[in-house]
Amino acid sequence: MFARLDKIRWLNILLAGFTLAFLGYYAHQKASEILALPYRNTDNYIASDGSLILQTSEASFTVNWAQGVSRTFKTTHSPPFKEGDTVSFKLWNQGGVFVIQEYHVWEKRSHWYARLMISVPPVVFVLIIFLRDFKFSWRRLIFFRES
């Protein structure tokens, strides 16, 4: 009986592991399609979730675009960001000239690392209370409740 239950457990672990591996493989196959999402034809709108600004002028800006090729957008107004910024933006195409409808300048990478550091204490805290409640049996490869 015990051995049968353990077989069911391992069967489920293998099935779940196989499903995850399949999902990962499927994502890898779809990767080019997923990565091309920002560059597809969306009629009058063009948006980016974060592009490095290579150059700006009074009425245009140049960004890193699909496959590392740069693209220049002519704008109706002076771009409100500068060279070197990483910017998310939404543009409205008006016959080859773009209206900047929305934009967001991303914070510097050093800020991101600072925020990452804030995440370390909660991970330690949660792992401590988890390992206080449960102990791992290396022999059976299972977590047991700490009595």
Partner: protein, 168 residues
């Protein structure tokens, strides 16, 4: 992503209200941070390779691992995770862990993205149905509130501990 301080504090606040009969608190809290335990190292790798101008992984590799933060793959991970526990608590583990993951995803859904975001519908669709409310680097005020709440909770627990049993 809101940082893990926000995710764990919100999870802890839910635990204060939720009846423990249905939840395993430590598993629920682990579920609250679990999606970023996979995504975090991936983001660190992606940021490091840009900062240092080296190639650690291809964009295809990043997408491959990114889907493990999507709802359906996370549900499969909860399924796998619950079978690492004894049979009599397996359902409670699955329920608590999935609820923690759901809370994590609910908070992440507030973030803005035009295109890719968290691939919410993967593997059925790669479209982004959730536009979000704020950009992820604009959420510092949430972190500050979460930090103050955490400090208050620690203080409250210190006051309470001598009189009653440990709430966790």
């Amino acid at each position: 992503m809101p940082d893990l301080l926000v995710h764990s504090v919100v999870g802890y606040l839910v635990l204060l209200r939720e009846r423990r009969k249905f939840l395993a608190p430590s598993i629920f809290l682990l579920g609250c941070i679990f999606p970023d335990l996979i995504r975090g190292p991936l983001l660190i790798g992606a940021n490091l390779q840009e900062s240092l101008n080296i190639r650690l992984m291809t964009p295809e590799d990043i997408v491959t691992f990114q889907i493990f933060h999507s709802p359906i793959p996370l549900l499969v991970q909860a399924w796998l995770f619950c079978f690492l526990f004894e049979r009599d608590i397996r359902f409670k583990v699955f329920f608590s862990f999935s609820l923690g993951v759901a809370l994590h995803l609910f908070l992440d859904a507030g973030q803005r993205a035009y295109h890719i975001s968290y691939l919410w519908m993967f593997p059925f669709s790669i479209e982004n149905p959730i536009p979000g409310i704020w950009w992820s680097d604009e959420s510092s005020w949430i972190t500050i509130i979460a930090g103050l709440t955490a400090a208050m909770l620690v203080y409250w627990k210190c006051l309470k501990t001598p009189k009653s049993a440990d709430p966790m």
